[in-house]
Amino acid sequence: MSELSVNHLLGIKYLNQQDIQLIFETADHFKEVINRPIKKVPSLRDITIANLFFENSTRTKLSFELAEKRLSADVINFSASQSSVKKGETLIDTVNNILSMKVDMVVMRHPSPGAGVFLSKHIDASIINAGDGAHEHPTQALLDSYSIRERLGEVKGKNVVIVGDILHSRVALSNIFALQLQGANVMVCGPKTLIPKYIDKLGVKVETNLRQALNWCDVANVLRVQNERMEINYFPSTREYTQQFGINSALLDSLDKEITIMHPGPINRGVEITSDVADSEQAIILNQVENGVAIRMAVIYLLASKIKN
């Protein structure tokens, strides 16, 4: 087994194809581990990991914490809402204070794009980006591709459409990079106002008609409309958005093939996807969550193996 080419996981754009392959192969082993009666291995018992969440999260935070505990690492948690950040402490000061407590690895979610890259230039610990603003969310993209590989056999050559709020989505950008690295064809679909200008320069197709996008794809990754990041109205009403870009079973049944439906969560049921579709056999939303733990274990394990004693 080779090593990762990077010392931090700041974004998919810093990885190469072999890295993704290595992460997936390692995740296969961890997926077997987390399905054992006793789901824990002692590999990281001398590693301490700090989870720094400067922005709210349920799934990602729990998933990281579980992955760390399954690897026997010591874990400390930090949420900005309950901390001295409110008192005016800078990011570097906060992190350096935490590192003086001898922490080996930092998992960070931050509202500012590039926060992880900035931090990696100033501190020694390994950094995993758990989402930085609307920039990247690499572990989500890895688990999405891993789930596609699990369902369809491989990612290469598959047509994947990302539907919804592309503009405010870090999941979309990381997914585009990850899917393209593995040889998939990527399309984005959503209201024109929620598709970034010049996104076609990344080599993705752009489509504003949902039916045509679904006819083209093997997999649809449906994103949430991120109302909390919108300062102006990007579409007239939620009802209109649902009519044009909501996925429902009538629409899926009218296609001449069965496509796989993914969603990174949290789901706004009845807005971007109806409940019956989200709970159907076509949807692999809960598989994504299970795979999330295995992928995060793999990433943490591989990065930890590069920390020298």
């Binding site: 090593e3 082993h29 077997e32 581990v33 054992r36 002692p42 590999s43 004693n309």
Partner: protein, 179 residues
């Protein structure tokens, strides 16, 4: 680099028969026994012994699994090379069973120490035994000894014992390699 043949195909075959018979002596019809090959190299020996029990000694219901110990090793982050994981394939519970660990070479005993921890994830066995084809004497770091041994070998530290299998390397043989 020089190498010396320790065992040829015929000798390996005789030893495998002896080890298999010794197992039968202690485990009768194997109803309460499971064989566990330690990945990566113990797998071949375990498959061979299970095959021999089935075809030559007509024992049915052999339960065979493969255990990967990578994530349980004590040298994570200490070696030069990254550790490479293999597949664990145990689709039964070992609670109250007699477990036989099977590995090709017993050297420092650290792999077996890791295997003793790893197997706990699959339940609490009644007892665990160890079968190795080659036992490198006087090189143990831990108080671990085999219950069934094929051949004892005195090898000094810079020597390596290499076990070859027909299904993998094209011949059954054991070499002592001096670097």
């Amino acid at each position: 680099m020089s190498q010396k043949v320790l065992l040829n195909a015929k000798e390996v075959n005789i030893i495998l028969h002896r080890l298999t018979c010794q197992l039968i002596e202690n485990h009768n019809d194997f109803t309460n026994t499971v064989l566990i090959g330690i990945q990566p190299r113990g797998k071949y020996l375990a498959n061979r012994i299970a095959q021999m029990l089935k075809t030559e000694y007509k024992i049915k219901n052999i339960q065979l699994g493969h255990l990967d110990i990578t994530f349980f090793r004590d040298d994570f982050r200490r070696g030069e090379k990254p550790l490479e994981a293999s597949t664990t394939d145990i689709n039964f519970i070992i609670e109250h069973k007699k477990v036989v660990f099977i590995d090709d070479v017993l050297y420092t005993g650290r792999s077996i120490r890791a295997a003793l921890t790893a197997i706990q994830s699959f339940g609490r066995p009644n007892e665990i035994e160890l079968l190795t084809l080659i036992d490198r004497r006087f090189s143990r770091h831990l108080p671990i000894q085999p219950d069934y041994r094929g051949r004892q070998v005195d090898a000094i530290n810079n020597e390596k014992v290499k076990v070859n299998w027909k299904e993998n390397e094209g011949e059954d043989s054991v070499y002592l390699i001096n670097n």
